[in-house]
Symmetry: C2
Subunit: 136 residues, 2 copies
Amino acid sequence: MHYTRDNMASLLRSHDINPTHQRIEIAHALFSRQEHLSADQVMAIVNTRHSETSKATVYNTLKLFLEKGLVREVIVDPSKVFFDPNTSPHHHLYEIDTGHLSDIDASHVQISGLPPLPDGMVTEGIDLIVRVRRKA
Amino acid sequence: MHYTRDNMASLLRSHDINPTHQRIEIAHALFSRQEHLSADQVMAIVNTRHSETSKATVYNTLKLFLEKGLVREVIVDPSKVFFDPNTSPHHHLYEIDTGHLSDIDASHVQISGLPPLPDGMVTEGIDLIVRVRRKA
DNA sequence: CACCAATCTGGACTTTGTCTAATATCCGGA
DNA sequence: TCCGGATATTAGACAAAGTCCAGATTGGTG
Ligand SMILES: [Mn+2]
Ligand SMILES: [Mn+2]
Ligand SMILES: [Zn+2]
Ligand SMILES: [Zn+2]
């Protein structure tokens, strides 16, 4: 399955999102790269060559994708949020020096011994972030 | 051991920090409460009654505390950083609705199966965040 | 074509955080 | 005590990420 714009349209429809030109471009930026991108980076990618999509639309669209479960949010840098086209459960490795964020497959990682949740609470997600730095 | 201002001064000295009036007040805000506070919250606490400490000093001081290992940074909310007076290894529970952040004791939690680090990299820390929401 | 709802847009605005140049404080030596 | 330099604090300008809104576009449908 390639990440053509047509396939992006189907993907959007399957998540109950009306596939407009801008939404298709933004989805294509994320899914064709399979990388963690900030709103700023998405903006830059989508607007290479000629400017097509406004800042407001980029933010609105990413928020929409989030609500519809098409992407996931990764909060590891205090100065910007990353959007992640990989919504399967997985963890993250963050290289502090470079700002590069990569996936850690969850299938072999095991987390045990977490205390029971407070009453009336339900888990929205468990984020495990390994912060690394180049050895001195 | 109470969190008197005198004890704060000793604590600062023991971390190689020159204990000034402002630094003592900021340390006192964090340690007497033993809570996770944002820079904004620290600012508000320290400046109740009469204004004493500037925004620049609050940020400078929190960064200094961080460098000297007196506090830890917790990144869970895309809109602000929390500072944590508890530097022992522990995890966090984040209530998305309220923004409230609490500690999870690390002693019973076990994380296994993490892949080996990329070459030349060293772990700076492992953050485990359980995001919860009030049940619908 | 005319209409309506959904979408997109520029730009003003807010918030968190940084930077800088001027001032204040502290401390050791003469 | 007075001086001089180092350290610390400050106000306010600035920057970057993100939000908001009122007006313009778009894309069907009758
Ligand atoms: Mn294009
Ligand atoms: Mn006071
Ligand atoms: Zn990921
Ligand atoms: Zn904590």
